[in-house]
């Protein structure tokens, strides 16, 4: 199979103006992925499926990722004049990267027996603009998985034929797989709590009477 860089170069000729980016993966698997922009996503997906070299006819898995706001601290050495003497001082600057949601597609080729090619799309932010184009029209197997991502992460797939919740009930309003999700507090009975569960269970504990001897003095008239 072609390398991801070759696939990226060929895709750019097919979809001019598309902003593509190879996202590296620091884990031992080294599975880099191709980030595609939302405007050209359907066009690029159709190319990846129909191209005679690639023939990525099988979308095995679609998953969501939630990225929270990140701050990156950068330390720059700056020369400053302190008390008439020039010194090198560390200047710390903080850069805030706003959070976003991602959908990741794992593509294989049954016809050419190769894969995976991983493509990903990003939303503009985590709250207001959570739209992504649906790739169900290209790979039918993405239908239920995009519904699941909609259910658990709250990504709205434009062009999806039937975008409803699939695991949780329709009246449910939260997105449980988001990192800032707060689950309902039903920790009233935890026989052996520890760590996080202990902290949650403590909220239900009856207050213990604090007997330190002072109550005898205050009770006297």
């Amino acid at each position: 199979m072609e390398t991801l860089a070759e696939i990226k170069a060929r895709t750019e000729t097919v979809a001019p103006g598309a902003r593509l980016e190879i996202v590296s993966n620091g884990s031992p698997s080294q599975q880099a992925s191709l980030r595609i922009d939302n405007e050209h996503a359907v066009e690029i997906a159709r190319f990846l499926r129909d191209d005679p070299e690639l023939r990525l006819d099988f979308c095995s898995n679609v998953t969501g990722v939630d990225w929270l706001d990140r701050t990156i601290k950068k330390t720059v050495k700056v020369k400053q004049v302190v008390d008439g003497v020039e010194k090198e001082v560390d200047q710390i600057s903080e850069e805030v990267i706003p959070g976003y949601l991602e959908a990741v597609y794992h593509l294989y080729s049954i016809a050419r027996k190769h894969g995976p090619v991983i493509i990903r799309m990003r939303t503009a932010d985590r709250t207001a603009e959570t739209q992504l184009p649906s790739l169900t029209s290209i790979w039918r197997s993405a239908e239920f998985q995009e519904r699941e991502i909609f259910d658990l992460y709250g990504i709205h797939f434009d062009g999806h034929p039937d975008l409803r919740r699939i695991l949780m009930w329709d009246e449910f309003e939260d997105y449980p797989m988001r990192k800032d999700y707060r689950e309902p507090d039903d920790y009233e009975y935890e026989p052996t709590p520890h760590d996080d569960v202990l902290e949650k269970a403590k909220r239900h504990y009856a207050p213990r009477p604090q007997l330190d001897g002072a109550e005898k003095i205050t009770a006297q008239p």
Partner: protein, 205 residues
């Protein structure tokens, strides 16, 4: 009712006269024809199926007639994980069963949520919405454990009184036989538990 002297009864039996009471006869019939409701929720259901099949054979205890309708069932075996999406249907099925009715809570999930106890989507025990007669721990419990629970339930039925102040619950009009079905809320089931039924045990610290 059953206040005949045991010694006299034994003496009569030796003479070929069998003396019984309406209550004993009635309970004997009921406890040997418990028809379970035919449904399963997760892997515990596989063990329940094994219990019903020839190797373990729940028919030896009169419980082989699994009914596909709640209207014909006496026993609800909650076999498996009860998700919050499934819980209202379970309560509704229980409400549709005719009295007298019994519930076996089978496996760690049905008792407490089991390995999913700290999840957002699993009910932390079916006893939050319906009364449970016998609990079986295990993940999943073996068929022998289900048979044991079945025998415990038979023992319980055998001890139920037909009259008097402590008569069986299904004979007392003041005891509820239906329980409110929880509604799907925006964040959780509403209510999260039936407060009349479910009281979390006091933890001694």
């Amino acid at each position: 009712m059953s206040d005949i002297d045991e010694g006299l009864r034994g003496e009569l039996q030796r003479q070929g006269i069998w003396v019984t009471s309406m209550q004993e006869l009635y309970n004997w019939g009921r406890k040997n024809s418990i028809w379970p409701l035919q449904f399963g929720l997760a892997c515990c259901a596989i063990e329940m199926i094994a219990t019903a099949a020839s190797r373990y054979d729940i028919a030896r205890f009169g419980g082989e007639v699994f009914r596909p309708s709640p209207r014909q069932a006496d026993l609800m075996i909650v076999a498996g994980t009860v998700t919050k999406k499934m819980a209202p249907q379970i309560v509704r099925l229980y409400n549709q069963m005719p009295d007298p009715k019994y519930v076996i809570s089978m496996g760690a999930c049905a008792i407490s949520g089991g390995p999913f106890k700290q999840g957002y989507n699993v009910l932390k025990g079916i006893d939050r919405y319906i009364p449970v007669d016998v609990y079986i721990p295990g993940c999943p419990p073996r068929p022998e454990a289900l048979l044991h629970a079945f025998m415990e339930l038979q023992r319980k039925i055998d001890e139920q009184k037909l009259s008097g102040s402590n008569k069986a619950e299904h004979l007392r009009p003041d005891q509820p036989s239906e329980f409110p079905v929880p509604a799907f809320g925006a964040h959780d089931l509403e209510p999260a538990a039936n407060a009349d039924l479910f009281r979390p045990p006091e933890i001694q610290r």
